[in-house]
Amino acid sequence: MGDQAHHHEESFVSKYVFSQDHKMISKQFLVTAIVMGVVAVMLSVFFRLQLGWPGESFAILETFLGKWAPDGVLDRNAYLALVTIHGTIMVFFVLTGGLSGTFSNLLIPLQIGARDMASGFLNMLSYWFFLFSSVIMIFSLFVEGGAASGGWTVYPPLSALPQAMPGSGMGMTLWLISMVLFVVSSLLGGLNYVVTIINLRTKGMSMTRLPLTIWAFMVTAILGVLSFPVLVSAVVLLLMDRTMGTAFYLSDIFIGGEALDVTGGSPILYQHLFWFLGHPEVYIVLLPALGISSEVIATNARKPIFGYKAMVGSLLGIGFLSFIVWGHHMFVTGMNPFIGSVFVFTTLLIAIPSAVKAFNYITTLWKGNIRFSPAMLFSIGLVSTFVTGGLTGIILADSALDVNVHDTYFVVAHFHIVMGMSAIFGMLAGVYHWFPKMFGRMMNNKLGFVHFWITIVAGYGVFFPMHFVGIAGAPRRYYEYSNFEFLNGVQDLQPIISTFAIVGAIGQLFFLFNFFYSIRYGQKAVQNPWKSNTLEWTTPVKHLHGNWDGPLPIVHRWAYDYSNPVHEEDFVLQTTPPLDGEVMH
């Protein structure tokens, strides 16, 4: 493969459908994730209607859910199914597939100076497995007994026994199949990302000159490759318990009028296996968002990201530590308390690199010259929500405190603020920032401003009150709360939360309209609209298979020479050779 770009005939199918070009694949991931996201948001609006106004009839529920909402009131099994699928879609399909899948694919070859990923073919397969997995997950909503309903964590025995709830029948089987396909997609992608970053960097692009996005994507991919297979093992054992009479997770169960003849298994085994993935998974969700924000904040503050080495170090620290904290999801399972202590220690440790990152972001803003593109607004929002959500993690990490808030709305508030706000903001920042690179057009800024301010207000409006509902003792995954006198006082928060949720959902219409409209009619972009230093902005606006027309760029400096006093312009492309006598960073 020479230095020249490939010029070969592409049919509609090979260009848009079965593409092996990383830029097209990234767009496929993005659009699929957006569709899945719309579905998941709708599901959440449906169950928030029930939670905000319990037992009231809503015609829209019957329209969309048919027999799952007889007379417009959500059925209690359907409620759990909606909650389960909402969580599953958001964590895996939107925030993993949609975040890593889109931006790792788009940016890795472009920012390291490569023609494409190491294997275009595996990359293409990774998208098609993702699509196939998505279709099956959506399809599971329509089966007779309903979709999987044990929460996105689907703990056995509830998820292992069809007799335990209707969603544990065919719906659960489809969920498991979908997840295996999803993991295949992730692994194919992740391996590609790591191999590409290590092997295909262009001349001069040493590891210490990599933009922080690439560092983040690399650590994320390594996390995925090491932890997703454990989820597969959890899933396979569950499939076996469901269909082959094994007893990995089952023991001493009497259900449906029968004593099941399986003994010796432990449901806690599943939790260990699940959370061994589950915890790194939330960092797989978060790290790309952090990486994207580093880029967006530096570019739009016209300042180098503060403490590049510390940022890299904290990415590595978070990545490593994320493997040894999973037990904090299991403090109240009856696990040996000593093990609980170990997990308290490691979990609180992870707060340190996280804090370093937050402080570095803020110092980057100090004495910057901040351009508030919608991407920048979302990135600043990310820092706020990362801090807010991360701080409540300290309560949850403390096992003695977790005893009182585990599985309450306090936890729901925590993970939604870090994932449902922070990580999503990173994804949206990425979309707004790299839209010109993806589609050769600009999105509309005014709509972007409106979208941002509605979203951050609605987001905090939904999730901040949940802290109080949770500390008051309200469990999560409850269909309604009217059976508990002691919770009556916090119930007036529920309709407020639901109202913000509906407003937030409607607010996303500004984004959806802007996104799809601009793909077709947006103002045509120039090559480097944000005046950014990184390599992706040195490629032509119209996509070229092989990215650069001519030889690959040669890199002479790090990615963050913004407002460098030695240079006249407030940005310096990475390909700019050193000036005479310039001391390089």
């Binding site: 759990l80 703990y155 025995p157 335990a164 001493d252 169960i253 009028g257 004593a259 003849d261 432990s266 016209r302 503060f306 403490g307 590049y308 080495k309 399972t333 009856g334 308390p337 609980g340 308290v344 609180l348 707060a351 804090a355 937050a358 803020i362 110092t363 100090w366 004495k367 910057g368 010259n369 901040i370 351009r371 508030f372 607004l377 600043i380 706020s384 807010t388 409540t392 300290i394 309560i395 403390d398 003695a400 405190l401 010109p436 600009m442 999105m443 800024n445 905090y460 500390i471 008051a472 003792g473 469990p475 269909y479 709360y481 059976n483 006198e485 002691f486 309209f513 103002q523 913004y562």
Partner: protein
């Protein structure tokens, strides 16, 4: 109506597209580019950060005032330490929250873009990094130390004189079991669960009645399988064929042998012997066949005949197999002995099984043991800062000492109807949101009196069936029927 809504949405979209196109046109005519964000826009957004900050903090403070102290003071000993730890952590978290968010919003507002200035090139500062690594580390170390100390106290061994109570969870209720006057819990085995023995307590009577019940079920199922019309008719047809075959069979058999003789080089004399024996056993076989056929005819006329699809028939065969296996398990429950005089057969007889509400004496440590029948549930008692999963197959435990009686708490809250409650806190199915049990904390005397009122699990022969048993049977059979 829906059509109208659809129409409005479509028209709205079209309008939005047209408006956007007009907007695009206007900005391109003015030579503006989307990436050139005006200073006015930058200043506006900077200002909005400050507005946002004020609104955000204000609503936080309002929420804190209205809901900050929502739960009443802890009703358990360890809960006091937990609340202290919580307040300590919250103080730190609030301080960091306000400090860091304020810096973020303030810098955003202050440093909005101005074309005539350049940002300050400040790429790193190792001393600063060190400071804000070391300080959080120290703070976290303190949090860890304090937290683990509280945790160790909470999870340590229970006192020797702690009351032990078993909380048994199933879809969708809780049952409490107290050891009887012997101070020992009876063993439990899920194979012995019947409507009268909802917890599967091991006693001689328990094993007997479980066996009885399952024999009845097995007999019933065997009958159903035996009397399935389709299979009976098939069997009858097959038997009739064999019968007719054998009638002509003698002659045919010889002919067949002759044909095969050439091929097989078989001994002719053997066949002659066989033919003789054949006659005798043939008559016996015929009689057998005929008697079974007449039995089938008789069965077909009885009113026990049922018709099943093939799938249903196989399901019943599977079920029979499972029931037989279950019966084996019941029979395997042999006799165990505790060290001491009590035998396993006896320890459970005087256990107290309680539904709906359970009582505890104030000021005494209680060690809960948790068991589950079907899926993972969780016993959450927020007033006592207590929570522990109940996991099928894996007993768990949690100890606590209640320090505020129900009456006292009613006075504190000025709510004469207040009651402590135990809620399920691990999703367990459709009625997860209503799986609760009332908790009553009272004086030792009142508790003793209450406990005495609870009937022992098994009354002696000759005594009347206890209320508890009646209730247990009613409720248990309801639940089992419901789950079938």
């Amino acid at each position: 109506m829906k059509l109208l809504i659809l129409l409005v949405v479509v028209l709205g979209l079209v309008a939005a597209v047209q408006l956007s196109k007009i907007y695009q046109l206007s900005i391109s005519l003015r030579g503006k580019r989307e990436e050139e964000i005006s200073e006015a826009d930058n200043r506006m957004n900077g200002g909005l950060w400050l507005v946002f900050m004020v609104l955000f903090y204000a609503s936080f403070i309002v929420l804190l005032i209205r809901y900050g102290d929502y739960l009443p003071p802890s009703a358990s000993v360890h809960g006091l330490a937990v609340d202290q730890l919580m307040n300590f952590n919250m103080a730190i978290i609030f301080a960091v929250f306000f400090l860091v968010n304020t810096l973020l919003f303030w810098f955003s507002a202050k440093y909005y873009y101005r074309a005539d200035r350049k940002a300050t090139f400040y790429s790193h500062d190792n001393k600063l990094e060190l400071i804000w690594t070391v300080i959080p580390s120290i703070v976290l170390a303190v949090i860890i130390a304090f937290g683990l100390r509280t945790w160790n106290e909470m999870t340590g061994e229970a006192a020797d004189d702690a009351i032990r109570v078993e909380m048994y969870s199933k879809q969708f209720d809780w049952t409490a079991r107290y050891p009887g006057n012997d101070g020992e819990f009876g063993l439990a085995n899920y194979n012995l669960i019947t409507p009268l023995n909802a917890l599967g307590i091991v006693t001689e009577e328990g094993v007997e009645s479980a066996l009885e019940e399952i024999e009845v079920k097995i007999a019933k199922l065997e009958d159903e399988i035996a009397y399935e019309k389709g299979h009976l008719l098939d069997e009858r047809e097959e038997l009739m064929e064999r019968l007719h075959e054998d009638d002509h069979g003698h002659g045919h058999a010889h002919t067949e042998h002759e044909h095969s003789e050439d091929d097989n080089h078989s001994d002719h004399s053997d066949h002659a012997d066989h033919a003789d024996h054949g006659d005798a056993s043939h008559n016996g076989l015929k009689a057998l066949l005929e008697s079974r056929i007449s039995e089938i005819d008789h069965m077909l006329e009885s009113d026990k005949v049922i018709i099943l699809t093939e799938a249903a028939y196989e399901a019943k065969e599977d079920k029979l197999y499972r029931l037989k296996r279950h019966r084996t398990r019941i029979m395997e429950i042999g006799e165990f002995n505790f060290d001491g005089e009590l035998s396993a057969w006896d320890a459970g007889r005087d256990d107290r099984i309680v539904k709906g509400e359970f009582h505890l004496p104030i000021g005494r440590e209680v060690e809960f043991v948790f068991r589950s029948r079907d899926v993972i549930h969780s016993a959450y008692m927020p007033h006592f800062r207590t929570q522990m999963n109940s996991v099928p197959g894996v007993p768990t435990r949690f100890k606590m000492t209640p320090i505020i009686s129900t009456d006292s708490m009613r006075m504190i809250l000025d709510d004469p109807d207040f009651d402590y409650v135990l809620l399920c806190n691990k999703v367990c199915g459709a009625a997860h949101f209503n799986m609760q049990m009332k908790i009553v904390i009272e004086s030792q005397e009142a508790y003793d009196a209450w406990l005495n009122e609870q009937d022992p699990f098994l009354v002696k022969e000759g005594e009347e069936e206890s209320e508890t048993e009646k209730v247990t049977a009613e409720v248990a059979s309801e639940n089992i029927t419901a789950s079938l």
